[in-house]
Protein backbone atom coordinates (compact mmCIF):
# COMPACT_ATOMS: atom_id res chain seq x y z
CA UNK A 1 0.00 0.00 0.00
CA UNK A 2 1.35 3.41 -0.95
CA UNK A 3 0.34 6.60 0.73
CA UNK A 4 -1.30 8.90 -1.80
CA UNK A 5 -2.04 11.70 0.63
CA UNK A 6 -1.39 12.31 4.30
CA UNK A 7 -1.15 15.31 6.58
CA UNK A 8 1.98 17.35 5.96
CA UNK A 9 4.87 17.05 8.39
CA UNK A 10 5.10 20.83 8.28
CA UNK A 11 1.80 21.04 10.18
CA UNK A 12 1.71 20.38 13.90
CA UNK A 13 -0.80 17.96 15.39
CA UNK A 14 -2.80 20.88 16.82
CA UNK A 15 -6.48 20.93 15.91
CA UNK A 16 -7.24 23.98 13.81
CA UNK A 17 -9.78 26.39 15.25
CA UNK A 18 -11.24 27.41 11.88
CA UNK A 19 -14.98 27.05 11.32
CA UNK A 20 -16.22 23.96 9.45
CA UNK A 21 -15.52 24.26 5.74
CA UNK A 22 -13.37 27.38 6.01
CA UNK A 23 -10.69 27.07 3.35
CA UNK A 24 -7.95 28.59 5.54
CA UNK A 25 -7.08 25.01 6.45
CA UNK A 26 -6.53 24.09 2.79
CA UNK A 27 -4.25 27.09 2.32
CA UNK A 28 -2.27 26.15 5.45
CA UNK A 29 -1.75 22.70 3.94
CA UNK A 30 -0.45 24.10 0.67
CA UNK A 31 2.09 26.31 2.46
CA UNK A 32 3.15 23.41 4.69
CA UNK A 33 3.49 20.99 1.75
CA UNK A 34 5.56 23.55 -0.13
CA UNK A 35 7.99 23.99 2.77
CA UNK A 36 8.51 20.22 2.79
CA UNK A 37 8.72 19.90 -1.02
CA UNK A 38 11.39 22.62 -1.18
CA UNK A 39 13.16 21.17 1.90
CA UNK A 40 13.16 24.55 3.65
CA UNK A 41 11.05 23.75 6.73
CA UNK A 42 14.06 23.78 9.06
CA UNK A 43 15.17 27.19 7.87
CA UNK A 44 11.71 28.75 7.70
CA UNK A 45 10.32 31.47 9.91
CA UNK A 46 6.64 32.28 9.51
CA UNK A 47 4.89 35.45 10.61
CA UNK A 48 1.30 35.09 11.74
CA UNK A 49 -1.24 37.93 11.46
CA UNK A 50 -4.09 39.25 13.54
CA UNK A 51 -7.39 37.97 12.23
CA UNK A 52 -8.73 34.46 11.72
CA UNK A 53 -5.20 33.10 11.14
CA UNK A 54 -3.92 34.56 14.41
CA UNK A 55 -3.19 31.07 15.77
CA UNK A 56 -1.21 30.04 12.67
CA UNK A 57 1.86 29.95 14.92
CA UNK A 58 0.40 26.84 16.55
CA UNK A 59 -0.17 25.09 13.23
CA UNK A 60 3.07 25.44 11.27
CA UNK A 61 5.88 23.16 12.37
CA UNK A 62 8.58 25.83 12.03
CA UNK A 63 9.69 28.88 13.99
CA UNK A 64 6.86 31.40 14.11
CA UNK A 65 6.47 35.05 15.10
CA UNK A 66 3.07 36.54 15.92
CA UNK A 67 2.83 40.10 14.56
CA UNK A 68 0.63 43.04 15.47
CA UNK A 69 -2.35 43.68 13.17
CA UNK A 70 -1.10 44.46 9.67
CA UNK A 71 2.57 44.59 10.63
CA UNK A 72 3.60 41.13 9.45
CA UNK A 73 5.55 42.46 6.43
CA UNK A 74 7.53 44.79 8.75
CA UNK A 75 8.22 41.94 11.20
CA UNK A 76 9.25 39.70 8.28
CA UNK A 77 11.50 42.50 7.01
CA UNK A 78 13.26 42.62 10.37
CA UNK A 79 13.71 38.85 10.45
CA UNK A 80 14.92 38.56 6.85
CA UNK A 81 17.50 41.31 7.22
CA UNK A 82 18.95 39.60 10.28
CA UNK A 83 18.79 36.13 8.69
CA UNK A 84 19.07 36.64 4.92
CA UNK A 85 19.63 32.94 4.20
CA UNK A 86 16.37 31.85 5.85
CA UNK A 87 12.97 31.41 4.23
CA UNK A 88 10.55 33.97 5.66
CA UNK A 89 6.83 34.13 4.98
CA UNK A 90 3.83 36.06 6.19
CA UNK A 91 0.30 34.68 6.28
CA UNK A 92 -2.24 37.51 6.29
CA UNK A 93 -5.93 38.15 5.80
CA UNK A 94 -7.66 40.97 3.97
CA UNK A 95 -8.14 43.23 7.00
CA UNK A 96 -4.54 42.69 8.02
CA UNK A 97 -2.98 43.22 4.60
CA UNK A 98 -5.41 45.43 2.69
CA UNK A 99 -6.65 47.74 5.47
CA UNK A 100 -4.58 48.32 8.60
CA UNK A 101 -1.36 47.00 7.06
CA UNK A 102 -1.58 48.53 3.60
CA UNK A 103 1.49 50.69 4.11
CA UNK A 104 3.57 47.77 5.39
CA UNK A 105 2.79 45.47 2.46
CA UNK A 106 3.24 48.18 -0.18
CA UNK A 107 6.62 49.21 1.22
CA UNK A 108 7.82 45.64 1.70
CA UNK A 109 7.03 45.13 -1.99
CA UNK A 110 8.67 48.44 -2.90
CA UNK A 111 11.89 47.44 -1.16
CA UNK A 112 11.73 44.08 -2.87
CA UNK A 113 11.92 42.27 0.46
CA UNK A 114 12.81 38.67 -0.21
CA UNK A 115 9.81 37.26 1.60
CA UNK A 116 6.69 35.39 0.54
CA UNK A 117 3.28 36.68 1.53
CA UNK A 118 0.25 34.41 1.51
CA UNK A 119 -2.72 36.76 1.31
CA UNK A 120 -6.03 35.15 2.20
CA UNK A 121 -8.91 37.18 0.77
CA UNK A 122 -12.38 36.14 1.89
CA UNK A 123 -14.10 39.52 1.38
CA UNK A 124 -15.05 39.83 5.05
CA UNK A 125 -13.64 40.24 8.55
CA UNK A 126 -13.93 36.73 9.93
CA UNK A 127 -12.42 36.79 13.41
CA UNK A 128 -14.35 39.81 14.64
CA UNK A 129 -17.65 38.50 13.34
CA UNK A 130 -18.36 39.40 9.74
CA UNK A 131 -17.69 43.11 9.40
CA UNK A 132 -16.92 44.81 6.10
CA UNK A 133 -13.45 44.30 4.65
CA UNK A 134 -11.66 46.46 2.07
CA UNK A 135 -12.24 43.49 -0.25
CA UNK A 136 -15.98 43.21 0.45
CA UNK A 137 -17.87 43.31 -2.85
CA UNK A 138 -20.17 46.21 -3.70
CA UNK A 139 -23.62 45.17 -2.53
CA UNK A 140 -22.30 42.41 -0.26
CA UNK A 141 -23.98 42.50 3.16
CA UNK A 142 -21.81 42.47 6.28
CA UNK A 143 -22.51 43.32 9.93
CA UNK A 144 -21.14 46.85 9.40
CA UNK A 145 -22.65 47.20 5.93
CA UNK A 146 -26.06 45.71 6.77
CA UNK A 147 -27.64 47.10 3.59
CA UNK A 148 -24.73 45.98 1.44
CA UNK A 149 -21.46 47.75 0.69
CA UNK A 150 -22.33 51.04 -0.96
CA UNK A 151 -20.03 52.25 -3.72
CA UNK A 152 -20.93 55.86 -2.92
CA UNK A 153 -19.93 55.42 0.72
CA UNK A 154 -17.02 52.98 0.58
CA UNK A 155 -15.96 52.73 -3.05
CA UNK A 156 -15.20 49.40 -4.66
CA UNK A 157 -13.07 46.55 -3.26
CA UNK A 158 -9.31 46.99 -3.49
CA UNK A 159 -7.44 44.55 -5.73
CA UNK A 160 -4.14 44.07 -3.93
CA UNK A 161 -2.53 41.67 -6.38
CA UNK A 162 -3.05 44.10 -9.27
CA UNK A 163 -1.90 47.03 -7.11
CA UNK A 164 1.28 45.33 -5.92
CA UNK A 165 2.07 44.07 -9.41
CA UNK A 166 2.77 47.67 -10.44
CA UNK A 167 5.72 47.79 -8.03
CA UNK A 168 9.19 47.10 -9.44
CA UNK A 169 10.34 45.35 -6.26
CA UNK A 170 7.67 42.67 -6.66
CA UNK A 171 9.03 39.55 -8.37
CA UNK A 172 5.97 37.33 -8.40
CA UNK A 173 2.31 38.13 -7.82
CA UNK A 174 -0.50 35.68 -8.55
CA UNK A 175 -4.13 35.30 -7.50
CA UNK A 176 -5.51 31.79 -7.09
CA UNK A 177 -8.31 30.03 -5.26
CA UNK A 178 -8.85 26.64 -3.60
CA UNK A 179 -12.49 25.85 -4.42
CA UNK A 180 -11.81 22.70 -6.45
CA UNK A 181 -9.05 20.07 -6.54
CA UNK A 182 -7.85 21.61 -9.82
CA UNK A 183 -7.69 25.08 -8.28
CA UNK A 184 -5.89 23.61 -5.26
CA UNK A 185 -3.24 22.09 -7.52
CA UNK A 186 -2.79 25.40 -9.30
CA UNK A 187 -2.62 27.30 -6.01
CA UNK A 188 0.07 24.94 -4.80
CA UNK A 189 2.14 25.55 -7.94
CA UNK A 190 1.82 29.31 -7.36
CA UNK A 191 2.87 29.07 -3.72
CA UNK A 192 5.80 26.84 -4.62
CA UNK A 193 6.94 29.24 -7.30
CA UNK A 194 6.72 32.19 -4.91
CA UNK A 195 8.90 30.43 -2.33
CA UNK A 196 11.38 29.37 -5.02
CA UNK A 197 11.68 32.96 -6.24
CA UNK A 198 12.21 34.11 -2.65
CA UNK A 199 15.03 31.63 -2.18
CA UNK A 200 16.57 32.76 -5.47
CA UNK A 201 16.63 36.25 -3.95
CA UNK A 202 14.73 37.88 -6.80
CA UNK A 203 12.37 40.05 -4.78
CA UNK A 204 9.01 40.25 -3.07
CA UNK A 205 6.52 37.48 -3.77
CA UNK A 206 2.82 37.24 -2.96
CA UNK A 207 0.10 34.73 -3.67
CA UNK A 208 -3.41 36.02 -3.05
CA UNK A 209 -5.78 33.15 -2.34
CA UNK A 210 -9.53 33.69 -2.62
CA UNK A 211 -10.97 31.84 0.36
CA UNK A 212 -14.41 31.10 1.73
CA UNK A 213 -16.03 32.23 4.96
CA UNK A 214 -19.17 30.09 5.23
CA UNK A 215 -19.97 31.29 8.75
CA UNK A 216 -19.95 35.02 8.02
CA UNK A 217 -21.30 34.67 4.50
CA UNK A 218 -24.25 32.77 6.00
CA UNK A 219 -23.85 29.76 3.72
CA UNK A 220 -23.06 26.08 3.91
CA UNK A 221 -19.42 25.27 3.08
CA UNK A 222 -20.42 23.93 -0.33
CA UNK A 223 -22.65 26.94 -1.10
CA UNK A 224 -19.69 29.15 -0.16
CA UNK A 225 -17.50 27.45 -2.77
CA UNK A 226 -20.11 28.22 -5.42
CA UNK A 227 -20.55 31.81 -4.29
CA UNK A 228 -16.80 32.36 -4.44
CA UNK A 229 -16.56 30.87 -7.94
CA UNK A 230 -19.55 32.76 -9.28
CA UNK A 231 -19.37 36.09 -7.45
CA UNK A 232 -15.86 36.70 -6.13
CA UNK A 233 -13.79 35.55 -9.10
CA UNK A 234 -15.41 38.04 -11.51
CA UNK A 235 -14.42 40.82 -9.10
CA UNK A 236 -10.99 39.33 -8.34
CA UNK A 237 -9.81 37.63 -11.54
CA UNK A 238 -7.41 34.70 -11.20
CA UNK A 239 -4.15 35.44 -12.96
CA UNK A 240 -0.39 35.81 -12.73
CA UNK A 241 -0.04 39.58 -12.46
CA UNK A 242 3.74 39.74 -12.26
CA UNK A 243 6.49 37.21 -12.86
CA UNK A 244 9.94 38.63 -13.47
CA UNK A 245 11.34 35.18 -14.21
CA UNK A 246 9.28 35.14 -17.42
CA UNK A 247 10.55 38.54 -18.56
CA UNK A 248 14.14 37.41 -18.20
CA UNK A 249 13.63 34.48 -20.52
Amino acid sequence: MAIVYEKSKALTDAEMHYCPGCTHGIIHKLVAETLVDLDVLGKSIGVAPVGCAVFAYDYFNCDMHEAAHGRAPAVATGIKHVLPDRTVFTYQGDGDLAAIGTAEIVHAAMRGEKITTIFVNNAVYGMTGGQMAPTTLVGQKTTTAPFGRSFEHYGAPIRMAELLATIDGAAYIERVTVTTPAHIAKAKRAIKKAFQIQDEGLGFTMVEVLSTCPTNWGMTPVEALSWLNETMIPAFPLSVFRDITKKEK
Partner: protein
Amino acid sequence: MAGNVTFRQDRCKGCGLCVHVCPVKIIFLDETVTNRKGYHPATIVEMDRCIACANCARMCPDSIITVERL
Protein backbone atom coordinates in the same frame (compact mmCIF):
# COMPACT_ATOMS: atom_id res chain seq x y z
CA MET B 1 -7.15 1.06 -8.99
CA ALA B 2 -8.48 0.73 -5.47
CA GLY B 3 -7.86 2.96 -2.54
CA ASN B 4 -8.25 3.02 1.18
CA VAL B 5 -9.33 6.15 3.00
CA THR B 6 -9.03 6.72 6.73
CA PHE B 7 -10.68 9.59 8.56
CA ARG B 8 -9.64 10.93 11.98
CA GLN B 9 -13.31 11.10 12.80
CA ASP B 10 -12.83 12.67 16.23
CA ARG B 11 -11.43 15.74 14.45
CA CYS B 12 -13.97 15.94 11.62
CA LYS B 13 -16.09 19.11 11.56
CA GLY B 14 -18.66 17.65 9.17
CA CYS B 15 -18.17 20.41 6.61
CA GLY B 16 -18.89 18.07 3.72
CA LEU B 17 -16.23 19.42 1.35
CA CYS B 18 -14.88 15.86 0.92
CA VAL B 19 -18.39 14.64 0.12
CA HIS B 20 -18.68 17.42 -2.47
CA VAL B 21 -15.47 16.60 -4.36
CA CYS B 22 -15.57 12.79 -4.29
CA PRO B 23 -15.88 11.78 -7.96
CA VAL B 24 -17.38 8.37 -7.14
CA LYS B 25 -19.74 9.78 -4.49
CA ILE B 26 -18.91 7.25 -1.77
CA ILE B 27 -18.28 9.69 1.11
CA PHE B 28 -21.17 10.69 3.38
CA LEU B 29 -21.62 12.28 6.78
CA ASP B 30 -22.59 9.52 9.18
CA GLU B 31 -25.65 10.82 11.02
CA THR B 32 -25.63 7.79 13.32
CA VAL B 33 -22.39 9.06 14.89
CA THR B 34 -21.77 12.31 16.76
CA ASN B 35 -18.12 13.00 17.56
CA ARG B 36 -16.79 14.80 20.63
CA LYS B 37 -16.97 18.08 18.72
CA GLY B 38 -20.68 17.52 18.08
CA TYR B 39 -20.40 16.85 14.36
CA HIS B 40 -21.47 13.94 12.19
CA PRO B 41 -18.13 12.80 10.78
CA ALA B 42 -17.36 11.85 7.21
CA THR B 43 -17.14 8.16 6.41
CA ILE B 44 -17.07 5.61 3.59
CA VAL B 45 -18.85 2.27 3.51
CA GLU B 46 -18.24 1.24 -0.08
CA MET B 47 -14.46 1.44 0.17
CA ASP B 48 -14.02 -0.98 -2.71
CA ARG B 49 -15.29 1.77 -5.03
CA CYS B 50 -12.54 4.23 -3.96
CA ILE B 51 -10.19 5.16 -6.82
CA ALA B 52 -7.51 6.68 -4.57
CA CYS B 53 -7.72 10.08 -6.29
CA ALA B 54 -7.22 11.84 -2.91
CA ASN B 55 -9.50 14.72 -3.86
CA CYS B 56 -11.16 14.33 -0.48
CA ALA B 57 -7.87 14.59 1.40
CA ARG B 58 -6.63 17.55 -0.59
CA MET B 59 -9.93 19.36 0.00
CA CYS B 60 -10.15 18.59 3.73
CA PRO B 61 -9.38 21.84 5.59
CA ASP B 62 -8.60 19.96 8.79
CA SER B 63 -6.15 17.44 7.32
CA ILE B 64 -7.99 14.49 8.87
CA ILE B 65 -7.96 12.28 5.76
CA THR B 66 -5.23 9.84 4.71
CA VAL B 67 -5.48 8.07 1.36
CA GLU B 68 -3.58 4.93 0.38
CA ARG B 69 -3.44 3.12 -2.93
CA LEU B 70 -3.90 -0.63 -2.62
